[in-house]
Amino acid sequence: MNDIKRRDPRAEWILRNRLHPEHSTYALTQATGRLSEWIGPTGVKRKNPHLVGFIGPAGVRRIDRSGAQSNQQNTVKAKVDIDARRLIQIDGPSAYIVVVPELPGGRFSAQDKDLFGLAQQLAAKQSEATAVLGVILSPLKDTELGDVGMDRVYFADESQCSEYDPETHLQQLTAIEREFNPLYWLFPEHTSMSADLGRRLSVKLKVRATSHLWQLDLDTLMATCRASGGASDLYRPVSRVIMALAECAEPVSDTRHEARVIDSSINAADVIKRIRNLGAVSVDPAKVALSEAEFILSGGKGITNWDAFHQLARSLGATEGASRVAVDDGHMPRDRQVGATGTWVTARVYLAIGISGAIQHLQGIQACDKVIAINTDPGCDMIKRADLAVILDSSELIQSMLDQLQQSQVEVQHVA
């Protein structure tokens, strides 16, 4: 079937104009299998409610909103959505910009997407056709490569594809350097793999890398970098190798890219390995240092069942914290105390159960982005601080959260 949808402006105009003498005829053809939704000339979705549904066996119009009724409308709609974005194809690029994404857990992180956005912005500024080349060195689960903003994609061989193998990966990057001589190399500044590779590459290429970049002026090519351990900004001309922080640019959203796979004709030389990855070490999130934790589940005097609390922390994958009172009462060790007299935490999400929020405690969580509180007293200070508060008995709520977590786990297993 021909996927190309041809527009008939005259037909659309007649359909819009219900007073048109031919309107009913056109409407009828639509009702028997033509569009009830379409993209108007300005790109806005238009609907004709009269055309929704179908004529049932008794000659009566039926509308089935459950979606169970098979009708080609659904498939057409999906296509309409994709078509909303421009597809960009570059056939014979004369230059390349390379992005080496971090791919934590095999998926594109928000920072990875920001970097592809930056790469596309840089590419758009070039006078000649420039393609963004994504280099995938570790196992990838995501499939929508084009959406992220890759014009070309290079997959490392299965034998060379791993979470951490800097020596082999560096060989591949130097091979790519030889083959494509990219305009820019972009790496996410992140403590795991890519930033390390970027630095290795920059030293190999004898380029003084631009590190900790968070802003790039596309016209002057002046980079703004966090320097002095975060205390100052360094303004410098951007170099070929760039390590960029999250939110350095907007991710690609208006366009689709073809993500054409480059044949693995790139031959990376073998290396004698001096670094051997012995694999991940399982670390109990509950035991992660409070100051390092991203997500803290903190308990206070209102907790009656500490076993359930620990279980919840395990199921949520949260680091455990506690109020001073809980520590004093011996429910938690002292190094778990959050607050001015304990640890000042920087968690992004702070879930406080049964903590009323003494000033000292609230001072300790000043830096937290999102605070969720569970407490029986709606007037307490913690509730006032919280972005989301639930006024309920803690033990009931913990149990309920545990149940729901278990349920969703079961669902995930069924899907997988």
Binding site: V203, H212, A231, Y235, L278, P378, A386, M401
Partner: protein
């Protein structure tokens, strides 16, 4: 995380060098020992009963000296200084010195607290010396004559075990054990030993300039509305930050669902 458990066998010829720099307090900017470098020294002191060699390369003056003494206060008796002028690249001086007097394990911080702090120095040094490099080291588990086993810090407190051939440069992460307190008396009595002065090697960074860090703007939520309804919802949505949402008289199930929904939105819940 546990403290460094590895101890060097005393008969092994594994010598440990720690490279240190001058740090600054994040709030006041007062000079002091750099946090990661101090952690590196802590790690080195845990490795062996013998005193590690501590080297600093860079300018030395009255304001920098007390900061360097912070390392001496941790219990080393001597700090070697490769004195360089402010604008000099320190890598040539360091690599020349380390080439002449090699060490099988070189420990340093991952990122300086002053200047560009690009975190490139360990890489340049490893390249110049031909050493293996592992970054973001959290714990050294084992050191033998020809290789070491280390744990590398990953985000969110996760760790990866790595075996590395020696000689190696290990760049220490902020997730490694906290450095011991610097004792005043040891700091004043320690010896600062200037071993090398300037090697003429100017940095090509004259186009660069520094300014106090600007606050990064919070990213705005751009709503790509594909329908009139979405646009209306976006426009009519309650502005964020105007106080939290309080759920009273809900059932436990509803409350739990609301919390789990937020946790998923924030991306901290992986399932």
């Amino acid at each position: 995380m546990s403290r460094n458990l590895a101890k060097l066998p005393s008969n092994d010829e594994v010598s440990v060098t720690v490279l240190v720099s001058v740090g600054q307090h994040p709030v006041t900017g007062r000079l002091r020992r750099a946090d990661q470098d101090a952690r590196a020294l802590e790690m080195a002191m845990g490795l062996s009963d013998a005193e590690p060699r501590v080297i600093y390369a860079g300018p030395l003056n009255d304001s920098i000296e007390p900061a360097l003494r912070g390392y001496l206060g941790m219990g080393v008796s001597e700090l070697k200084v490769l004195r360089q002028s402010e604008q000099n690249d320190i890598v040539p001086a360091l690599s020349a010195f380390l080439n002449a007097t090699p060490s099988s394990v070189i420990l340093c911080g991952s990122r300086a607290e002053l200047g560009e702090s690009s975190g490139l120095v360990p890489y340049q040094l490893a390249d110049a010396l031909g050493y293996t490099l592992v970054a973001n080291v959290a714990v050294i588990e084992k050191v033998a004559a020809s290789q070491a086993v280390v744990l590398q810090a990953l985000p969110r407190g996760q760790r990866r075990r790595i075996e590395v051939a020696l000689p190696a440069i290990l760049a220490v992460d902020s997730a490694s054990p906290v450095a011991r307190q610097s004792a005043y008396a040891k700091a004043t009595r320690g010896f600062i030993n200037c071993v090398v002065s300037d090697t003429e090697e100017k940095d090509a960074t004259n186009e660069w300039h520094y300014a106090p860090a600007r606050k990064r703007p919070k990213r705005l939520k751009i709503i790509k509305a594909t329908s009139a309804r979405d646009r209306f919802k976006a426009a009519a949505a309650k502005a964020e930050g105007a106080g939290g949402q309080v759920l009273t008289s809900v059932t436990a199930e509803e409350g739990a669902a609301a919390i789990l929904k937020v946790l998923k939105e924030e991306g901290v819940l992986k399932t």
